[in-house]
């Protein structure tokens, strides 16, 4: 990991229109991502966690430019990627690649493994000249721990974990600088999940990749991430390094989330204090005013404080966490230990 910032997102916003009636009249917006800023350093892993509907996958799609943002910018190596057009954009796409969640639907069943992993070279022929492609694909298969001889097989001949390796091989085919992993292990069995996590870590060491690791499994994220961003209803509520988020969280949502994760140790079940959150995540089409978490917040506050939560949107500020400070978006941020 180096100090060089490779990707910088500022105030990213993505609204999806809600259309109703015969004339498809726009009646509102789903605020999937609503003002997200962060930096990603070279060779670093940034974990993004949150519950379903918090906008973490939309964020991944925005960073891939599979979606155009409603506003905001992403600087990649010093240029705003949303300003690029034509061949400049095409060139940049080599540097940011993605691995999808479901290894069963993200690979074309009618293509051989060689065609799937080699397809990026059809689109970016300058990376590998035609004659060398087969060899290059075999090298990639070997790198991700698959048998290079299996280049002519079809996806259905592989298990879930092996398919995810194919997806990873395709993701790194163009030597990207950033790999976006959208729930890459959540569809896999535990014993196989560890194999894929280890593969991702090995590739990062060997190739110097930076990862955006999007997942809902907080334990996997802790294992792989240098820094972690916690999202709630389209906003980052807390961001810091792995230790700050897991050992010294200051935002009540992060604290509730951590306390809710079951730990695979029956002897700890009575000693862990669990914070129960009432209800479900509100709809992103109509997020609560002020702090978006105020409808489910468990922290005791005075009436004046509650009014502030309801009316004033908290920004990400450095808050003391007992041993230093890290960014948290709560008016009354307060550190809590021993949640994990």
């Amino acid at each position: 990991m180096s100090e060089k910032v490779i990707l910088q997102a500022s105030e990213l916003v993505k609204y999806y229109p809600i259309k109703t009636g015969v004339i498809r009249h726009v009646t509102g917006h789903v605020r999937a991502v609503d003002g997200v800023s962060f930096e990603l350093h070279q060779g670093e892993t940034l974990g993004v966690v949150g519950e379903s509907g918090c906008g973490k996958s939309t964020l991944g799609r925005l960073l891939m430019r599979l979606e155009e943002p409603t506003s905001g910018s992403v600087m990649f190596d010093g240029t705003d990627m949303y300003d690029l057009r034509g061949s400049a954009m095409r060139k940049l796409r080599r540097d940011i690649q993605i691995v999808f969640q479901d290894p069963y639907t993200s690979l074309n069943p009618r293509m051989t493994v060689g065609d799937i992993v080699g397809e990026p070279y059809d689109i970016h022929p300058e990376v590998a000249p035609k004659g060398s492609r087969r060899k290059r694909v075999q090298e990639l298969l070997d790198l991700v721990g698959l048998n290079p001889e299996h280049i002519n097989r079809y996806p259905h001949q592989f298990s879930g974990g092996q398919r995810q390796r194919i997806g990873v091989a395709r993701g790194i085919a163009l030597n990207p600088k950033v790999l976006i992993c959208d729930e890459p292990v959540s569809a896999l069995d535990v014993s196989v999940q560890a194999q894929v996590v280890n593969l991702l870590e090995k590739l990062q060491d060997e190739l110097g990749l930076a990862y955006i690791f999007i997942a809902h499994d907080l334990a996997v994220v802790r294992h792989i991430s240098d820094r972690v961003a916690v999202m709630y209803l389209g906003k980052i509520v807390e961001i810091g390094n792995e230790e700050e988020i897991y050992e010294r969280p200051t935002h009540p949502y992060t604290q509730a989330l951590l306390s809710a994760v079951p730990v695979p140790d029956p002897e700890l079940k009575d000693s862990r204090e669990q914070i129960f959150l009432a209800g479900d995540v509100p709809s992103p089409a109509n997020p609560p005013s002020g702090c978006r978490f105020h409808t489910r917040c468990w922290r005791e506050r005075t009436d004046d404080q509650k009014t502030e939560c309801k009316t004033v949107i908290p920004e990400l500020y450095e808050h003391a966490d007992g041993s230093g400070t890290h960014l948290s978006a709560c008016h009354f941020a307060k550190v809590r230990y021993n949640l994990v």
Binding site: V197, A256, V263, P264, D265, P266, Q274, F276, L277
Partner: protein, 363 residues
């Protein structure tokens, strides 16, 4: 008192419910299930035995293809036949073998006394009927209630599982509910007739952690109130650790280990259980080096290896493991309640106590 159709064991019936005189609700013995497919016969379950007592939570833990869901289907009697066939063993509920009961009698048990929560609530609910109608169906069919009474019971049941504004939402359709709420509706249906046994297949896998905690808490409360036995079928080692009393670990259609929850986590005795516990990333371990993983893949049920099905992936395997019949599930000495493991080397000093749960390591 009534005699069952086998004519042997008398069943005590209390309020439409069979009573387990010795507290033992369910006893599964040597259950065998096979799937007859065009590619060959897949033996999905090979001689699985376990029991469930009142108020107890038994977790069946296994990865995809281990046979845990098929076990549940065989107990419920909802196996798709063909291709699935129960080819041996018995499933005794209150001492009566359900597998030999005529369909009609079995119907009175299914849903009313043994009920099930399915994994995917959206596909398990019928999208074209209001949820209230679907829950009320339990009362109409099994209890013969009229529509008005059944609906009244439904509303109070929806309140029980804490669905807000139950009376207004009773006429809503499944797609109008969130994932957590749909799961609650499934639970409401499953507990409608106060079953003696609830089988929950991956009840929280599709849910977010904060909602997961709410659902598991709800199940626990219901269990305490009615003395219901719970069979939790899952692959989530975290959920199991927090709610189970005993754990049965399945691999390739066999039970490989069965033990009390604390003993299983602190001192796993089967190499597969050891590998499984080591390979789970934990919230309380730091960003580490390599995560221990089990090499290789689960076997194909159509082409099972000879000997112990786990031996190609096992780091302790010896020659004996690769030939002959698989090791039987044997009782280990000196444990109360009894614990079992199916491994030739279970008494071996190299293997005994070599499973180090990650909590012991410092990263």
């Amino acid at each position: 008192m009534k005699k069952n159709s086998n004519g042997t064991v008398p069943i005590i019936v209390d309020n439409n419910r069979w009573v387990a005189t010795d507290g033992r609700l369910l006893e599964v013995e040597d259950l065998e299930v096979e799937f007859r497919t065009r590619e060959g016969i897949a033996r999905a379950i090979n001689g699985v035995s376990f029991y469930l007592d009142q108020k107890e939570t038994l977790a069946i833990l296994g990865e995809s293809g281990s046979g845990k869901s098929v076990t549940a289907q065989a107990i419920m009697g909802i196996l798709d036949t063909p291709p699935g066939y129960v080819t041996g063993g018995s499933v005794k509920y209150c001492g009566v073998d359900l597998l030999t009961l005529p369909d009609k009698e079995r119907q009175t048990v299914r849903g009313a006394q043994i009920s099930m929560i399915f994994q995917d609530a959206l596909s398990a609910l019928n999208p074209v009927f209001p949820v209230g109608w679907q829950i009320a169906e339990m009362f109409r069919i099994h209890r013969g209630m009229n529509k008005v009474d059944a609906l009244e019971r439904t509303v109070s049941l929806m309140e029980r599982v804490r669905i807000p504004a139950a009376r207004e939402r009773v006429d809503s359709y499944p797609h109008q509910f969130s994932g957590g709420m749909r799961q609650r509706i499934m639970i409401a249906m499953a507990i409608a007739l106060v079953p003696a046994i609830l089988i929950a297949v991956e009840p929280t896998t599709a849910l977010d952690v904060t909602v997961q905690a709410q659902i598991m808490d709800l199940l626990k409360q219901l269990q305490e109130e009615s003395g219901m036995g719970l069979i939790l079928i899952t692959h989530d080692l975290g959920v199991v650790a927090t709610v189970a009393d005993r754990i049965a670990v399945m691999y390739a259609g066999r039970l490989v280990e069965l033990a009390d929850v604390i003993e299983l986590y602190s001192d796993p005795r089967h190499p597969y259980t050891m590998g499984l516990l080591e390979s789970v990333p934990r919230l309380d371990t730091r960003r580490g080096e390599t995560l221990p993983s089990i090499k290789g893949l689960p076997p194909n049920l159509l082409a099972m290896p000879a000997g112990c099905p786990f031996h190609p992936r096992c780091r302790f395997a010896i020659d004996q493991c690769a030939t002959g019949s698989p090791p039987p599930l044997e009782s280990l000495e000196g444990y109360k309640p009894e614990r079992f493991a199916a491994c030739w080397r279970v008494g071996d000093s190299e293997l005994a106590h070599s499973g180090h749960p990650q909590s012991g390591e410092v990263n």
